[in-house]
Structure formats: C-alpha cells, structure tokens
Symmetry: C2
Subunit: 328 residues, 2 copies
C-alpha cells in the first residue's frame, strides 16, 4: 500500500512536494488542502481532490503524513502544533533561532495525540545541519564554515521589492571565492560577514523611479545589505523574466579539524549542494522525511523529531538488506 | 562517568583510536588488548594496561565499548562475532561484498549475548555510505559517482611490494580531474574504470633489481593496475621516507539528479573528504560511533547496526537541546 501524503498549502513548496511524490512510487498524493476557495485551485495531478483546510479533520484516517508547505514567519508556528493533533506532519520551519520553541510546541501536540512531527526539514536547516553534526562528532577539534549560494535569496529579493520605485527584483547571495578556497585549503581563516559573501541585486524600476535613491536604499539597508559588498544592476522586466526566472541555490558546509597527539594532521569535510530549483530540492527532502515519519509512526514512535533524530535508512524506499548490499 | 573504551589490536587503527579518545572528554581508554606479548607493547597513554586477548573475558564489566582494530581480510570476520559475545563492539569491516554475511554473524552473536555491534564504520564504508543513502533518498532520479583520492592505497602499495626486486612502494589513487569536473557540472558522463582514476606508483628498488621488469609487472597486474593508466617512478629510499611517509586520502561521493514534472531541474549533491591521515580520520569516525553504541546499549537496543541505522544525534557528546539550538 502506498504512503498517502497530504499537502497543506499550494505555493512553491506545495507544487514541489507534488512533483516529488511522482518520483517516489511508494507514495501517492491523497489531497491538497488550501485556505483559498478549493474550486479556484488547479493542481497538476489528475483526480486528486483539493479540500478547504477547515475540512481537514475529515481526512484524519485518509492521510498518513501531512506535509506543511506554509511559511516559517507566520504559518508554521501555528500550523505545526495545530495539524500535529490530527496527522503525522513534516515541515520546513527554518527560523533557526525559534527552533527550540517550535520543537516544544509540536512535541506537546504530537505526543498528546499520538503522532510524529518532523520539523525543520530541507537543506538549511536540514541536510546542512546533518553535515554540521556528523562533522562535529567526528572532528571535535575544528571549525565550522557555512557558505550559501550562488543562489536567489527570496527574503532579500522581497526586501528590495518593498523599496519605493522598485517594480521587481532578484537578489543573489554569492560566496567569496577566495574565502571558500582558503577554508578548503585548511587555512582556518577568521572571516567577517563581508569577507564571506557578496550580494548581487538585479532590479526593475517603475517608470520614473529614482535609480540613485533605490541603489542607496538597498546598499544601506541594515542586516540585509549594509554589512556586505553589494552590487545593484538595473535591468528591464524582459531581462528579469528571461535570465532571472529560476530559483537556483546551494552552498557548502565545511568543517576543518585536526587529529593526532599534537594535532599534526589536518582534515577537511565538505558537503556541497548545487541546485537548479531551491523549492523542488527542498521538497524532495521533505518527501524523503515523510517516508521516515510514516515508518516511525508505524513503529509506535511519537513526538517531535528533527533530521538529527532519524536514522538514514528510514528515508530510503529500499530495505535494510538492499541498502547494506548496494549502498553501504 | 566516562565511556570506557577498549582497543583490540594496536596497529595504525589502534593508535588512531587512542588519539581520538584524547580528543573526546566524555571517553577514557580502559585497556588495550593485543595478541602479542603485552609487555612488549608500549602505548602512548600513561597508566593504561595492555592486556593479552586471552584475558579479555575478565574485562566484560570494565569496558563499555570494544573497538576492533584488526584487518578486514582475516581478523574482523572472526573477531566481530567472537567479541560481540562479550562486549558492545565497533569495527571498520570494509570488504563491501562480504558485509551482508558479516552483518548476519555479528547480529546473531550480539543478539544472543545482549550487545550492540556497529560494523563497517569509517569513511568508505561509513561516511561515504551515508552520503550515498541520503542523496539516493532525496533524488530518486539520479546517478551516483564515487571518486577516491588523491591518496595512498595500502592494498595497492602492498601489491607492488610483493613484486620481486621491490624494496618499498607507495601507490596513490588519483581521480581524473576532467571526469570529476564533468560530474560536478551535471553532465552525467558514463565513465570507464580508466576514465575515473589514475594510479601513481613510487617504487624503491632492491640493489640490482630489474627496473623494466618491475614496471611491466606493475602495469600489467590484473585488477590492481591493468585497467588503469599507471605511472611508475623509481625513487630512493630517502625520498620515499621524506616525501611519501604519510597516509593521506580522501575523495568525493557525488549524486546528480533531476526534479520537476519533466525532470527539467538538475541538482548536484557532493560529499568530499580531504584527509592528512587516513587511519586517524577513520578512527575518529569509529570513536564517534562508539559513543552511539554506548548510548544505544543503555537504551536496551541490541544486535548489529550499521551507520545507516543510527540517528546522527547519537554521535555527538552534546544533548538534543544543545544540538537543536546550535547546530540544527
């Protein structure tokens, strides 16, 4: 029998989950849940119902795992505990500083109702967290580095769009090549924010907007741009559509560390991603952890988990025997 | 209370485990077990007993985890099941084709005696297996590549040393740069053995040996060298001691895969190691999994496990709360 997946929220992530389910023959999309008028939501998979979130309760026995595809700012802190009362859930909560609180809320709801909730799944937090934890466990004497990009930061793109006179924008986060090479070479550099990443902004102005004003507003924006070397390039709407439509991303987690009685041997562990589509890759991770949620629930486990709490074999469709024979 | 570790076998791996225990304050070396005369074995850690393997039974209650530091060819197939009857064990069994059989033997012994046995720990099998399994779970439509090196292959170095006229030798396995770059670029090349790695041999001849004969014997050796572009460089014993004393290694596991309703988006996942000391890194992994073995045993789990069966949080000295707050 297939694992029956529900999607809650049909934006970039919801569409990505739908795609990823197609790629996994042991899963099926049971229903898509939306806060909009269901009749107005057209999904890619034929024959699958679109249901209003208010009717989710009726699906308690028809969904094995509900994947929450809302945003971390306002959706997931509410939806996590709410839907963990009804379903096994997986979410991509990515506000690092608030993970302990979100964990506690989901844990309480999931334990009370007898479900599993896997939070903060994706690539950072998610696969990058795994890379950090494995590398820290193996090389206790060392130093962690995380580089993001080259990729589109949706938060930074949105911040530019809020400036008066901006019609549209894409912001790329770009790791500084010299910094990443120094880290890979085991030089253990101390790097400031500015030395690690640059920010490239491609901006479409509204008619009659003041380009100099927009550029200054971007480059001096606290937290987002002020601490970085930022370039601003004004382009036409056509060029943005043609060359900046995708949502590529990626990055590297690197830990350098030493071993030996005198710390005389250096080692570098790197985990690197190069992604054409940030949402489709993120949702591929979500779907693999949905398989884990299903299996953990079958075993009678409950409460909140993160990627750190789940053995890798739970993610794969193959049996333990197959994994040991072919992938170990 | 510290985790009390026993080391069985005091070669390169045993010495590496001893080093790694120093780097982990929650562990202590309880004893080193040897098949040699214990009085002839001098270890680096002061005040720790060296014990003959025949007396290991007396240590059943004084060792939390025994790390087996023997070789995969003849030692571990015997020692794994034998010592899993007395202790929780960790080994680095690396004969990929024989893992299912070794797993079954250790599982039986460990279950009968109520212990945990974690087998095939290290970097390949080990961390590279983890990289393969995570990447396969996330990108079911894709292709795996593993490149080894640049690093010393001890098996290949030994094979050269067995040729008549060879006094000493070091063999480096070297990935072909063009191949690895094509894979990273997402070109999904089909690569033959020869296209993936070259083999560099540094050979010290015995006085009066026939260099042409040695070179031909190396380059035509089946399995080891015949399928590769192999270079042979004759050097002096001094040069070998000066420039080829270390045991560096490393490599990359790369999975390229696609997502999207029409497989239109490409992704590259790479896990890369660059290691000054193969044995010290391998044993750092063994020691992290010894911590996991200790914790799993405390929970009452038993039987054989591999790295695929163990959640990453078990490897780290930090608590779940600390990991969620700082490394997730």
């Amino acid at each position: 029998m297939s694992i029956r997946i529900g999607i809650l929220g049909y934006g970039n992530l919801g569409r990505g989950v739908e795609c990823a389910i197609e790629a996994n023959p042991d899963m099926e999309l049971a229903a898509v849940f939306t806060r909009r008028d269901p009749s107005a939501v057209r999904i890619a998979t034929a024959g699958v119902p679109v249901v209003h979130v208010d009717d989710a309760t009726a699906w308690e026995d028809k969904i094995d795992v509900m994947i929450l595809c809302g945003g971390s700012a306002t959706d997931l802190p509410v939806q996590g505990p709410q839907y963990a009362k009804l379903f096994n859930i997986v979410d991509s909560f990515d506000t690092h500083a608030c993970i302990p609180e979100h964990y506690a809320e989901v844990d309480k709801a999931a334990k009370e109702s007898g479900h599993i909730g896997i939070i903060s799944v994706g690539w950072d937090p998610g696969l990058f967290s795994l890379a950090r934890v494995y590398a820290n466990a193996i090389l206790p004497n060392g130093k962690d580095y995380t580089f993001w990009g080259r990729g589109v930061s949706q938060g930074h793109s949105d911040a530019i769009r809020r400036i008066k006179g901006v019609k549209d924008a894409r912001q790329y986060t770009v790791p500084v090549p010299a910094a990443i090479e120094a880290v890979r070479a085991g030089k253990n550099p101390e790097l400031t924010t500015r030395q690690k990443h640059t920010r490239e902004c491609f901006v479409v102005l509204e008619d009659g907007a003041d380009a100099a004003y927009v550029e200054k507003e971007i480059k001096t924006m606290p937290n987002y741009f002020a601490d970085y070397d930022t370039t601003v390039t004004f382009i036409s709407e056509e060029e943005l559509q043609q060359n900046h439509k995708g949502l590529p991303h990626g990055g590297s987690v690197i830990r350098t560390g030493s071993t030996g009685h005198n710390q005389e041997n250096q080692h570098v562990i790197e985990f690197k991603l190069d992604l054409d589509s940030n949402p489709e890759f993120t949702t591929s991770v979500l779907v693999a952890y949905a398989r884990a949620a299903y299996r953990l629930a079958k075993e009678g486990q409950l409460g909140c988990k993160t990627v750190l709490d789940i053995a890798p074999a739970y993610l794969c469709a193959q049996s333990g025997e197959e994994l040991r024979a072919h992938l170990l």
